[in-house]
Symmetry: C2
Subunit: 327 residues, 2 copies
């Protein structure tokens, strides 16, 4: 069965579409500005479960995934729309109000304005389509296709935390139960991810990233998208993957932690390639005067087109993109 990625490539080829295939579409706005926009569909029992998340968290996450796509282009988000398909039972409750509350709390933080959307009834499952748009300087969108051989590969903050939270949820742990603080942290990280919008814009404004994507399907899967688009390969160093610090509580096995970090997905961190000489500029970034930004160099771009290697203890092995796929 073809994957959704293969299908998108097929549609792209078939109808000669040049603007699809990246985190966002880029359209000219005015003489100085491009605009970017993205749409993300979240479906009950596929992308979230009502019994382990609050309406507020669903609203938060729906917007977060789209703002993360905008961050991955290096753009600043400005507007959003939300289409909501909802079964009648939920409609009769305060679910929609609470979902919009969660949505707006995040929107306010990033100064994003709700400009439209739709409300529809569904037979039984909740469906959300989240649409967001932003701006950046003309010609400066950071595409998946810009990686160069010899670039360093870097990632913001830590990875694996979202998959760790998901593991806890699958094991029956709930935010409203009695939890250790590391459990709360991991679950909250999964349910209410924070888009890396500020650092995305910083990387763009300072022309630090040659190619960029956000980690939604999984680090290796998303790196593979950069490899395909840029016609390059990649070499990662296992010991350099910045694993979420709470994962040690979840499992003592480094193999298991690494698996969550490489293939877990939904971390919504930014994965990018950068000229080696620019690496020192990463640590110069300081969001608000006291928070230094954590960007971790985890590997390098190679000429082995489409191949992703993992070096561990000095030994190299080939990685397959095993992150989340719908089909």
């Amino acid at each position: 069965m073809r994957s959704e990625f293969q299908f998108i490539q097929h549609i792209k080829d078939r109808f000669s579409l040049s603007r699809i295939g990246d985190d966002c579409a880029v359209l000219p706005k005015d003489t100085d500005t491009d605009m970017v926009m993205t749409a993300d569909m979240l479906v009950e029992d596929i992308d979230f479960r009502l019994d382990w998340t609050s309406p507020e968290s669903i609203g938060h996450k729906a917007l977060a995934v789209s703002l993360s796509d905008i961050a991955a282009m290096g753009a600043t988000p400005h507007w959003a729309m939300i289409s909501l398909g909802m079964p009648e039972g939920l409609w009769k409750s305060d679910f929609a109000d609470r979902l919009y509350d969660g949505w707006h709390t995040l929107a306010k933080q990033f100064r994003v304005e709700l400009i439209g959307g739709d409300i529809s009834k569904t037979p039984d499952k909740l469906v959300i389509d989240s649409i967001a748009g932003g701006d950046l300087l003309k010609g400066r969108a950071i595409l998946r296709s810009g990686a160069n051989i010899g670039d360093a590969i870097a990632v913001t903050n830590y990875v694996g935390g979202s998959a760790g939270g998901l593991t806890l949820l699958k094991n029956g742990r709930r935010l409203d139960g009695e939890l250790e603080s590391w459990e709360t942290d991991l679950i909250r990280y999964h349910l209410e991810p924070l888009p890396q919008a500020e650092i995305g814009a910083y990387l763009q404004e300072n022309q630090l990233a040659n190619a960029m994507i956000d980690i939604s399907d999984g680090l290796v899967s998303d790196l593979n998208h950069i490899c395909v688009a840029s016609a390059i390969g990649a070499r990662l160093v296992a010991e350099k993957i910045p694993l979420n610090l709470n994962l040690v509580h979840l499992t003592a096995s480094f193999d298991e932690q690494l698996e969550l970090g490489l293939n877990g997905g939904e971390d919504f961190q930014l994965l990018f390639t950068i000229d080696r000489e620019k690496i020192p500029q990463l640590s110069a970034y300081n969001i608000d005067g006291y928070r230094p930004v954590l960007c971790h160099v985890i590997g390098e771009v190679t000429s082995n087109v489409g191949e992703i290697e993992l070096v561990r203890g000095g030994k190299s092995s080939k990685l397959e993109p095993r992150g989340y796929r719908h089909f």
Copy 2:
């Protein structure tokens, strides 16, 4: 239970949102241009049924409803996105290919470019979110709020045809069965509506429409949206409602025909108000040199805020908006 219209007003008030509530959101683009955009969700077994429509028709209609919203602002559509939530069974077939075929056939006709979207799995029902955008001269978007007392009320082409086609489908008639030509016409009109984008742009360019909306929920329901937004009332003349000519085959009863025309919905014709002295300019419009445009004057704007009357045989009665509502 509150309707979706009441909920949208509630969200609009609660978060002080100025850009929602019309057919499209309007955003500034450059010094001369505004852009408009809209999102419409279509859900299996609510908005369409797989056993009476083809994948191509679903693709066509998904785009058509969004282009119709753009037409209702007087704008010209340029780009679109589509988010597709699909159960695995459909994914394994050629359904998605055929849906995109239907989508693209209409997109080509209106020179609309697919710039993005999403593909997601759903547990069992097909869900589509259709997003489209367009441009128009700055400050010239035709809102629902612009109607003035004394304006004439007009509608493009004919109404009731979509509801007539839906009636036939509910009665078991299918496009692939043996049909009279009028049945084929009505069903096709329901399944593959044509957005009135050219005349929408013409009305805007010539500043003929003071307020405008497309007929999606039903003529009276949609007129009521104009009444509420413009703080006006309306008087319609029953004999002037341009009923789809094929409805006479469906039912000999004028009452039944009128019901389909007033409350049927999904005609995707444009309903607008116009200064009386500009009415002659409507017939001057000629899309391509040989097709005169049919705009029918069906009533007038009154000062009875929120009241819609129907005059029939000289007698007036009050109409309630009974068109389609999700909730």
